[in-house]
Structure formats: C-alpha cells, structure tokens
Symmetry: C2
C-alpha cells in the first residue's frame, strides 16, 4: 500500500546514478583494518534490535563477558565504546584525567604523541618521556619523570606501537605507576587479540583497544576495560569529563547493572560483528591465537631479512603482528605500495610521522595473519622490488619464511 | 598452514559456549533504530578496504555527495561522523562553541536538554529557552533571549523532537539567529530522510543527524553538514575543540580535498551500509519518501484517535514519522510495551524525562514506515488495550487509518 500511495505522488527527481557497491577483495596486510571472517560479516546481516530490547541487553552481556576473557580480567567493567580506536583513547584519557591533572606519557611513536595531544584537549598537564622510535623506553627515564612531579595522575603508554611495531613490556611500568600512586593506562589497539595483554596480572587500570586489528572485526568499536581503581577514579571526579558521548560513568549505567539507563543508541550491527569475532577468538583459544601471530610474525621477519631488507625493530622488542621494514634507498615507497595494491591486491601501509616514506608497515593481524599471506607478500616483493630498482636474491625470502613455519610446525 | 601450526600448540582453554547469534525479527516502531532494507544489511558483508584505499576514498566521495542531496545542500562540507547521533550532536557543539561562548538552546523536549548538557561540557555559557513539551517554541521567546546577550555564538534547536514528536519550524528561527549574528545549529536526528530539512534554503549553518531513523541504515554514524559560514567559524577558532575524535577541522582534512590526511580508521562497513541506504533514498526520490512518511503518519494519528487515545502533539506541529500518544490512566505503560514485544514482536518506546510512563512513542521511520505497519500496530492495540483495562471500540482504529490511506491514494 505504501507503494500505491507513493505512485500517486510527485515523480522522483533524477539523480546521478551511484553504482552497486563492489569493492575489490583486498588482502589487508597493513596495521588494520585486517580481513574478517565470513561469519563476522554475516553477523551484521542479522535483524536489528532496539538498544534496550531484552534480547539486545543479553547480547551486550555476552560481548562484555567475552571481552573480559580476552582482556584477561575477572572484575572491573568492560564495554565496547561506540567509536573507533581513537574514541577509546579519548574515552580513557577524558575520564581518568581532570583539568590540571598531571599525565606522564611515553612517546616512542606516533600513537604516544597522539595520547599526549588528546590529553591536552582535556585540560591535563602533559609530560612526555621521549624515546627512540623503534625501541622500548628505558624504565629509569620513566621513573625519573614520575619522581619529578608532586602527583602524577596517569602514566600512559602504547603497548604495541602501531607506527613502529615495538612491543613495550608492561609489568615493570605498571609497578612504577603504582609505586608513584598513578593510574596505568594502556593503548592495546594493535595488541589485543594478537599478543597477551592480561590487564589483571599485569596491573593495567584502564586499557582500550579497537576491533579492526587483531580482534578480527570491522572498525567501529573500541573495547575498553577499567578495573575497580579506575572506576573509582571516574566516580569520584570533581567535574564530569569534557566529552559527553565518551563519558564512561554514563556508559557504565547503560552497560552494567540494573538501571540500563539510556545514554545513546548502540551501534547494534557492529556489536553483532564483535560478538561473532569474539566467539571465533575463544573457539580458536587465546594461546593458539597468540602462537599463530608469533609464528607468522617470525616467519615474516625471517623472510624480509633474507631479502636483504632491514627491520626497524630488533626481535627482542618486536610485536609479531606488525613488522616495520625499512624502504630501501633506491626504491620509491608509494610506488611499491601502489603496485602491490594494483597488481597483487595486497595492502600494506607506509610510515607515520617522521618515518613517512622510510618504512613499510606490514600487518599480520586476526584473519589476515596466515602463513599463506606471509608467503604471498614475500613472493610479491621478490617479483616487484627488482623491477623497482632493488636487486634481491629470488626465492630467498619465501624459503626463509617457510623454514621458520616448518620448524614451528614440527616443534 | 596456519591450522597446522596451531594444531601443534597448546589446546584451547574451555570457555562457556556463547550460542550462534539469532536475534528475533522485530518490527521496529519506536523512534529508532528502524528496520533496514535487506540491501543495506547485505552491503555490510562486502569486503573491507583500508581507510585510505583509493577505492574507499571514492566511496567516501559518493556517500558525501548523496548525503548532500538529502541535506538539501550544494556547497559546504558533508560527512558522516564515526559515532551515533549523540556523537554528531557533540561534534556540532564542540566545534562551533569555544569556552565562554554563549549558546542559546531551545529546550522543549529531552534532546533540547541534551544539547544544553553537552554544550556545558565544552565550556559554553548556556541559556535555555524553555517551552512546553509537545508544543513549538514561540518566536518572541527566542528573540527576547537573543536580544538579552551581547553576543550569541550559536542558536540550537531540535528539528523533530524525538521525545515528543513536535516538528519545530526552522525558517523563522534561522532568520532570527542570523539577525543576531549567531550560527544556527539544528539537530535533525529524527527528521533527515523523513521530512524535508533543506539546510541551504532554510539557512542552517550546521546540521547533524543519525543513520538509524529515517535514513534507513543501522545506528553507528552521524551525518553532519556544515555550510561555509560554519566552516569558517571552525577554522578561525582560538583553540582546538575539547574533543580530538570529533574535531571537524581534522575530519575535514580526511574527508575532503587533496590531503586525505589520516585521522582515525573510518568504520568501513557502516559507511557501506549508509551508502546503500542513501541509494535507496534517492531511488525512491525525496518527495515520494516525505509523502510516504506523511501519509502513514497521518493514518497512524487518525487510527490512534479513533481508538479514543489522546495525541500529545496537535497536527499543525506534529512530525509524521514519530507520534507520541498518551498512555491511558487505567493502563500500565511497561506492561503494554512488553506484551507488544513478546506477543506481537512489535517494539514501540516509552516516554523520556518527565513523560516517562505517560506516553508511548510510535515511530514510522525509513523502512519501518509502511501502511502495513500502521495497520498492524493499530490492530494489536485494539486486541491488547481492552485486556489491559482500556475499553476501546474494536475495529475503529484500523478503519480510520485505512480511510486516510485510501484518500491519500485517490488524491
């Protein structure tokens, strides 16, 4: 009947035709978004529910429960913030920090700088402990900075620096933060689901991540975990945070407990996708998943080195799901990435900040983390780099990676 | 090979089994989320692209172009903010207002109050012009308030108040705002795609909406339009906005022009969904779409009145896609909504703020706006209300609505 009503009315205005959606099937090997499992995509086609429907609230509980397991938490408060990873970052900082509070942030990459930049927007006093991009931060530098201030409210660090591929060890930093009575805030955007984060045993007070990297869902949500200490800090603020949308106190009332007070309309389909991605993670098992990321990452590193390429981060500090490799001097960064995309359908990323044009960032995250992808990219580089002016020994990369994978299998 | 590697490693830890996702097929007749077309759900299953992939940037351009048409704009800057409607609201306020700036906000419903609350977070000085919930605001009240201040930076109003169903006329308010050199900010969350918004001919400087109401996509994005005047206001700020994630200046560099500077990872699948929803809107034609919302809304009003129920908003000021109807004194609000959900699979919403328990909010938005749904809900109420203690003349509601629909068809 709707159609009949429509038919009697003014005809539609003619518009430029926008074609059917038909994006190419990319092999996503940058630092996210990574490819997602078909089951995750299909989950988004499930019928929408109202955000206060009892059936949806049940789904919220399931998602929070599974997220807790991936975070390595048994208590506290876990939810996916309705925005991408940077929304999680801003939520963490905006809620823990009040204007005038002192933040000490470890800046040894692009996302350390972003932590600092966002905290300034929320009125915090920010001190950066600067380290070399591609290396971990020396503990004594951090302690020196913590000591220097009367009261540090938050110590913040990126766990896996997405701009370099450094995996910053967290245990000692957590102890340092707590020694100086600071809250420990960790950016686990690139690590959660790919390497152990373990908020409880490590002693992380607030940890945020993103769905589109090692968790294996599309971008759009920022999982976040707060322990009771962080929750108390939020609940005893002198004034509300500067962001209403990212106010974790209000979100707590919607996501937990009896009230289920309406705050905003949750992105229902994205929550469905995250739920399915989390089910896949727990089906695989966290330990197996971490091992998969480790094996493939090590194989990628071995392959790249065998091609004569230089890795930015030494193995001791590297995060397996993201490898930064130096662009050879003789080669044009953008040209190689464009050819990889156009001729091989493979997406890798360039450098950020002062590493722009100097490194490629190769991700092996979530569903993208397969040994097939390791070998595929290495063989593509073996074909492509000589054409782009960097002579390499053909076959060496694939052979070295295969060797690592075979050893991992037999061990 | 990934599987082989996995097999040799530690077995997965046993977890509580979370079942396959199987949400019920609800008929969504609250004020959003509304049902979405199968094509929109399917669009989300398309392969993910990187957020700087040339193919994705092309899609961004298409989405911005189609959004512009729906906003009724030819210039300015249009993008979907990566968050739900409230994120759009916060983006608008946070970017136009600097600490100390004067906001005059029209509060004649829940979302007017929310505009005020959010603006306070961003340091604005807020004055509310309070009106009766369920009525439009008298122009003289607004002018009096604009006159009272040395300089008003922004006049803000909700177009279709989602808490009441009032459609606030905008033309005269826009003229008033500009007469006093204020920017005119409009919340079109519940109106865009269902009734004309027409930012350019009306004179709206910044307008935001949400995808899950009349635009017919899942929740998760907040389309926003800024004209050049609003853009200049943002680009000449004395200090950056208090939110980094919602910084429209930074988003402008990602969404428009040559730079395409990375800001955050766009929610790719949600953008796909919005693209398809916009294609459906333009295929239907805006005028036909508005007429569909109007006819069905009028039919719903006629049906409810024929059942002896009292509408909150008189026809002159009502917005067709959302009807608030008073809960009869003899009837339990929550009980009726629960039975509608459980026995008829129909979701309608209760009241917000001081209307909680006093009204039902019935939406006819996007794909949910069909004459079948009008008749379905009316017949459900005809069955249910007498069982819940409110005697009504059976058949009158459906008959009255059918009459309106038949007239619309024959006219």
């Amino acid at each position: 009947m709707a159609t009949m009503v429509g038919r009697a009315l003014k005809p539609a205005v003619a518009h430029r035709v926008i074609e059917d959606l038909n994006p190419p099937e990319r092999i996503l090997m940058g630092p996210g978004p990574s490819n997602v499992h078909r089951r995750v995509l299909q989950a988004m086609t499930k019928p929408l529910l109202h955000h206060l429907d009892p059936d949806f609230i049940h789904i919220m509980d399931e998602v929070a429960e599974m997220l807790q397991q991936v975070f390595g938490a048994t208590g506290g408060f876990t939810l996916p913030v309705s925005g991408t990873g940077s929304a999680g970052m801003e939520a963490g900082l905006a809620n823990l920090l009040e204007p005038g509070d002192q933040l000490v942030v470890i800046s040894h990459g692009f996302f350390g700088d972003r932590l600092a930049e966002i905290a300034l927007r929320h009125g915090a006093t920010v001190t950066q402990v600067r380290g070399t991009w591609g290396e971990i931060i020396p503990l004594e530098d951090v302690e020196q900075e913590l000591k220097r201030h009367r009261k540090v409210k938050v110590l913040a660090v990126a766990h896996a620096e997405t701009s370099t591929g450094v995996l910053q060890p967290l245990e000692e930093l957590a102890k340092l933060a707590h020694k100086y009575d600071a809250l420990f805030l960790v950016d686990a955007v690139a690590s959660l689901g790919g390497v152990p984060v373990e908020v409880e045993s490590v002693g992380i007070d607030l940890c945020f991540s993103a769905t589109q990297k090692c968790l294996g869902a599309p971008p759009g949500l920022a999982p976040i975990h707060l322990n009771d200490r962080a929750l108390v800090a939020i609940q005893t603020r002198k004034e509300p945070p500067r962001s209403w949308y990212l106010d974790l106190g209000l979100l707590h009332k919607y996501w937990e407990g009896g009230t289920r007070a309406y705050h905003h309309t949750a992105p229902i389909s994205m929550i469905y996708a995250l739920r399915e991605a989390l089910r896949l993670i727990l089906e695989e098992g966290l330990e197996r998943r971490y091992a998969r990321h480790r094996c493939n990452g090590l194989a990628m590193r071995a392959g790249l080195e065998a091609l004569g390429l230089k890795l930015l981060v030494q193995e001791e500090y590297c995060t397996y799901q993201l490898t930064s490799v130096q662009v050879p001097y003789s080669v044009d960064d953008g040209q190689v990435r464009t050819r990889l995309l156009n001729e091989y359908n493979i997406q890798i990323s360039g450098g950020l900040g002062h590493l722009q044009g100097k490194v490629w960032r190769i991700g092996l995250m979530g569903e993208s983390c397969t040994s097939e992808n390791v070998l595929l990219l290495l063989s593509a580089l073996e074909e492509l780099l000589p054409k782009e002016g960097f002579g390499i020994p053909a076959g060496y990369g694939v052979a070295a990676a295969s060797q690592v994978l075979a050893e991992a299998y037999s061990s």
